[in-house]
């Protein structure tokens, strides 16, 4: 990562409150959560189950809205956006990598990668070319026509990463990206994420249970009972 990438504050969460209800009882998850992530950072978020990691990732993706507080990502104020605006923001500024890849089974690798490109004003030919380049980048050149069912978990996750970066987003959100992979495949995927961070300057927020996975990030935030309780900067 260059210093230029780290200069600007990119993600700012200010006094974010979020809770859910069980019957008539309100259960808070976050009470005045504050977070700043610079552009180009690679942050791992760890924490026990129920600590709010997924809810935080959902809010960063604009999938869930906070009950109160501000969520700023780049120039976008997510907490004030309607659903349509958030969809458009996701399409242009964010890529997401899921734990279970979530590839569409009836589409081949290239077609899965093309999905986010359908939302861009580019020709079908350009979509095909870009999908090919991205698959090449993640080491899957020649497997464009292969269907997910015929791929290993590691290969599917690479397609998932290719799909996430196909539209060239600034922000990459990863939800347990190695949770379903063996160690070797997990390390390959994590190396790839680090490459994307270091070479392409992507800002990455990765939720993980795996301490070894977190080691690949520049810093690790530990979330517990709705608060960040520990922060470790990469040396």
């Amino acid at each position: 990562m260059t210093d230029r990438h780290a200069e600007a504050r990119y993600i700012i969460l200010k006094d974010v409150q979020k809770g859910y209800r069980i019957g008539s009882e309100a259960v808070p998850i976050f009470v005045n959560l504050n977070l700043e992530i610079p552009r180009g950072d690679f942050v791992a978020i760890m924490g026990p189950s129920g600590s709010g990691k997924s809810t935080l990732l959902n809010m960063l993706a604009g999938v869930e809205s906070p009950d109160a507080g501000e969520i700023n990502i780049g120039n976008a104020r997510l907490d004030r956006m309607g659903e349509t605006a958030r969809s458009a923001w996701r399409a242009h500024h964010m890529g997401i990598v899921f734990q279970f890849y979530n590839l569409l089974p009836m589409l081949n690798a290239a077609e899965n990668v093309e999905l986010p490109l359908l939302l861009k004003p580019i020709s079908a030919r350009e979509r095909r070319i870009r999908a090919g380049k991205v698959l090449d980048l993640v080491g899957l050149a020649g497997r464009e026509k292969q269907y997910p069912a015929l791929m290993s978990g590691g290969q599917q996750q690479r397609v998932g990463i290719a799909r996430a970066i196909a539209a060239d987003p600034d922000l990459l959100l990863c939800d347990e990206p190695t949770g379903d992979l063996d160690r070797k495949s997990a390390d390959d995927v994590l190396d790839m994420l680090r490459l994307l961070n270091q070479e392409l300057g992507k800002t990455i927020v990765m939720v993980t249970h795996d301490p070894q996975a977190a080691l690949h990030a520049r810093r690790t935030l530990h979330l517990d009972k709705g608060r960040f309780i520990e922060e470790k900067r990469d040396a």
Binding site: S87, A91, I96, L118, A124
Partner: protein, 380 residues
């Protein structure tokens, strides 16, 4: 890949289910294509003229009119020419093989309606060469396998001869083609003089006068004037266009249009229920993937378009197959069954395909569009 491609891939995800849905749509549009072609064809009234007027007894089209009306109608301003005719219905060999005979004066009917029926001078002359000759319409001739010179016997349902027999023997003098495929040619023309002289009852009466209005004379206005002529007579008239007459003629047996519309509506409603139900389940199975697409940035509108595209694809394929089969049936059996698959039928069918495709897709599409991402992710 584009959004349509994605919709198509979704549709083919379970090929058997999709093929069955397409089969349903194919059958529905085959039924529609055939029934609409029937209504539009020779058994219907699409080929009938709105300009030719038929003058009939106001008490009912089976009641006769005096031949003496001919002179008064002909002398009415705005009347270009008049012909008269008596309809005789009967069967050939078996009672369900029904045929109709229009007993006319050949020269007059050729003048009034000759162009539409395709009555050449040669045909008119051939009919006039002997009293018991008939000209047979192409559709009827093909259906019965008749040819020129053949002798045929028609057993009338009601019109008896003076000798008590209801068997009428004719010689086929020629076959008239009709001006277009829409023209009704499933009947024959006989000489009025022969029928009139031989029938036991109703001598010198006719069933209808056929009136050709003069140029720039409104058929509707002329019809009203003709009816006014006989309004205070013992036998008042009812004057209608040929099209109205044919529609009414078909309705004397049954409201064919209504029956067909009910059959088609029942087919479409059943189809709608099957497709809606299947599509709701098909889309529900994919709730999780819809959540993934939304997370990637697919807006509610795009999700709506995607699901609607899928049902439209099923309707487009099934509907096209159904219409192709209907067209083939119309080409192969059209003359015998009176099927005319016209551009109007096609245009209406295409409209139905689009509208039904959208209607059936709407409920699952709205469900998919409204499902929040977090709810969708719980569906796995």
């Amino acid at each position: 890949m584009n959004l349509l491609h994605l919709a198509r891939r979704n549709a083919w995800r379970k090929p058997l289910r999709t093929l069955l849905l397409i089969f349903c749509v194919t059958v529905a549009f085959l039924i529609y294509g055939l029934t609409a072609s029937f209504l539009n064809g020779a058994q219907g009234s699409a080929g009938a003229s709105d300009d030719l007027l038929g003058v009939m007894n106001a008490a009912g089209r089976t009641q006769p009119l005096p031949m003496a009306y001919m002179t008064r109608i002909a002398s009415e301003p705005g009347v270009a020419s008049v012909a008269y005719m008596t309809r005789l219905r009967g069967y050939v060999n078996v009672e369900k093989n029904v045929v109709a005979i229009s007993a006319v004066e050949p020269g007059l009917i050729a003048k009034v309606n000759g162009k539409e029926l395709g009555l050449t001078q040669e045909l008119v002359s051939a009919l006039g060469q002997a009293r018991d000759r008939v000209l047979v319409g192409r559709a009827l001739a093909e259906a019965q396998g008749w040819s020129v010179g053949q002798r045929i016997t028609v057993t009338a349902f009601q019109t008896a001869r003076k000798d008590g027999s209801r068997d009428w023997r004719f010689e086929v003098a020629g076959i008239f083609e009709g001006e277009s495929a829409n023209t009704d040619t499933y009947f024959m023309l006989a000489s009025y003089d022969f029928i009139n002289a031989a029938r036991a009852r109703g001598e010198d009466t006719v069933d209808a006068f056929v009136v050709q209005p003069a140029d720039r004379v409104s058929p509707g206005v002329l019809a009203a004037r003709i009816d006014a002529l006989f309004a205070n007579s013992p036998t008042p008239t009812r004057t209608q266009s040929e099209k109205q007459f044919l529609e009414a003629f078909l309705r004397q047996y049954a409201d064919v249009g209504l029956i067909i519309n009910l059959v088609v509506s029942a087919a479409f409603v059943t189809l709608l229920m099957i497709v809606i139900n299947t599509m709701v389940f098909a889309v529900r199975e994919r709730t999780f993937e819809i959540g993934v697409l939304k997370t990637l940035g697919f807006s509610r509108g795009r999700i709506l378009t995607l699901v609607l595209g899928e049902t439209l694809f099923i309707f487009a394929v099934g509907g096209t197959l159904g219409l192709i089969l209907a067209k083939m049936a119309a080409v192969l059996a059209g003359p015998a069954l009176g099927l005319v698959f016209s551009m109007a039928v096609l245009a209406k069918a295409v409209l139905f395909i689009v509208v039904l495709g959208l209607i059936t897709g709407l409920m699952p599409a709205i469900n998919a569009m409204r499902t929040p991402i977090t709810t969708a992710f719980k569906a796995r």
